[in-house]
Amino acid sequence: MRAYILTRLLSLIPVLIIVAVIVFFLIHLTPGDPAAIMLGPQATPEEVERLREQLGLNLPLHEQFFNWFFGLFRGDLGWSISHNKPVLTAFIEHLGPTISLSILAQAISMILAIPLGIIAAKRRGTRVDQTFMVLVMLGMAIPSFLMGLLLMQLFGVKLQWFPVAGYEPLSAGLWDHLKFMILPATALGIIQTAVIARMTRSSMLDVFSANYIKTAYAKGVKESIVVYKHALRNAAIPILTVLGEAFGTLIAGAVVTETVFNLPGIGQLVINAIEKRDYAVIQGTILLAAASYLLVNLIVDLLYGVVDPRVRLSRKS
């Protein structure tokens, strides 16, 4: 098992190197000059040039690349010119809201989606099934920023149950933290609900038609035990896969949601960095986001073994 994890971890390295190279050149080939943006529209070319020199932007591209690339191996992701601190520090400072948002959104979507999917599967073809699935499609069709704005208008502006924007870390108290997170997490979670509910439904349908379920019913096993113990467990692998992938889309969705609700997370960090052409931050963040996505997928793969003993057995053989 340990060897397996180690091999998987090592296999991440070439992927990350490729990501690093692509990200660097993609960003540097995009037009826009960080110095010109920092100094604003009234700056003269001379002032811009002076700042370019101070920031090391006048070096040849390959030199800039190697400086950055070899820095990576020392754990140095570069220096953020807009935050005036190391990229890693800026990243860590912005990590809390994004992780909290992603986990809460994931939790909300799971709490909603799995029961919804199971009920829809059990009542396949009935009105309940159709209504649920229409609702799910609707949730999928609404873009996350629109969902965010709608929730904000209703619960923030009209009812004033929650603040419309801002952030408090968990250390300020659980409720203080949650009251800022509930609306954005719901906005993001509802969209995920759609994907996960559909997958749960179809996966459960597959399992329901299997012979061992019929046998269980024939033996007179209680319905709830058939559904939750026999069926859900066997349907869990595809659901887990979707959950893993959903985490990736969550990070992408978080960019939009964080902007709408003004959460100081990774999404905000990247958006600001792109506007300011803060190259080091864009590169570092995308690299770290890619790494965490790969890690989440690794964890999902390992969870297959926890959920399904056959996966463990086949690995041993």
């Binding site: 826009g32 992780i99 909290s100 923030g156 924007a165 300020a172 100081p264």
Partner: protein, 538 residues
Amino acid sequence: MKIKSMYLFMFVLALALVAAGCSGDSPSEDSSEPASAEESESAGNGEESAQSGGTLNIAYEAQPNTLDPTVTTAGATKDMARQIYEALLTLNENWEVTPQLAESYEVSENGKIYIFKLRQGIKFHNGDEMTADDVVASMEKWTDNSSLTQSILNGAEWKKVDDYTVELHLEKPSALVPFSLADQNQLAAIMPQEVAESAGPIGATEYIGTGPFKFVEWKQDQYIHFTRFEDYQPVSEPASGLAGEKLALVDDVYWHIVPDESTRNAGLISGQYDVVVGVSYDAIEQIENTQGLSVDIYPYGFQMLVFNKKQGLFSDVKARQAVNYALDKEMVLRSSFGDERFYTLEPSLFRPEQTDWYSDAGKELYNPKDLDKAKQLLEETGYNGEEIIILTSRDYAYQYNAAVATQQLLQEIGINAKLDVYDWGTLLELRSAPEVWDIFFTGWDTSVIPHQYGFLDSKAEWPGWTNSPKIDGLLSDIESAESQEEAKALYAQLQQELWEYLPIINVGTYSKINGISEKVKGFRDFIGPVVWNVSVEE
């Protein structure tokens, strides 16, 4: 057997949630409820007891890179840093130079030495008294960094005479020195000597000034927190512009960084923010129609059409004049800003209240609207229908709208105009390449002296590449003028030449909008939001 494993997954999630919360910003020492009871009490005992207290929550559109105003002209730095820092001189409501940390100043007969008498007993936020050493160190740092000083203060030296007297020695006399010391765009901020001397090229990292509010905490992408400076020593003259009495009437000021406009407005309507800086022209109705909210429309700058004078059609002055005759300024302004409340037809680069500079010279050429004359001038240039590129960006809706209106007006006189639309960052880079564009739009905020308008000066090489020996000569004459009257008369000539040579077309002046809750009293804008003499009713 193991429904446990599903629970295990949920448990891991829950654990990670806790970890996530903890991995956020380190817990702030001061509570999230800003005004502590103690602070309110002590404020209550002070002389401002009637109006003191409370918190002012401002939603602002951008995060500054630094709060040190001496190293950047960025608007976000300017707006926030002025609470912390003060300069020797400042501007009153007529944009006239008025002493601030200086008690008074005089000029030697040959105009080469400025003598500043400092106010005594002024405390920095760290408790130390401000003396000539701090002023000299701060002014040297500012002189090194300021883009304005490159020409006006070139070779200037700051000298301490005694603890409360400082002299500025110039290589050549200039009536513009006081303006540059009072300018807000790159404030000549006074800070303690040790802070000024240890600051790197990207600015001081310790924010210590003499202003009515002191810096408390900066949470990246969330807010910047300032609190009342109890030892602040206001002057006794009535408040005017940025001069006169400045009182910190609230205990705390939070500048929330909220880039998304709809979020800012929603926060104002729900009561989370007291003031919203930067309401867009089409959102004003929503604010105006909400009970308990009002808007403040304040003059900001002018909108201008910039010509590429280095190559292409508009290197010929006749082609630029043709555009000026074709361009219906009112139509362009209305397309940009929508409502008459937000713009004024105005030929000057200065505002009427700027009595030191304002002139209406060139007004006969400002909005002539004569399509026949335009066509005739265009014909004289020998233009044969080649494509004319208008560079624009949707990031600033008013600029984009102006570009669309201009494209139409140019097509009416037979110019084959095409829009090239980019994001703002790309536009800033492309505009420095003369081969890719002919026209672009931008806004410019009203300045204190003509020399800050980079598009006038050939040496500045500002995109558009003005090359007018006459304008250059006038700029240089203004710089060495012996009195303000002389400088003002020379500027009037310059403005006339501006409308003849047309390095740019000044379309007109425009305003910006702040949204304000009725709980807030005394909030106004003067070259940025003014947060002193502002109170908040709880």
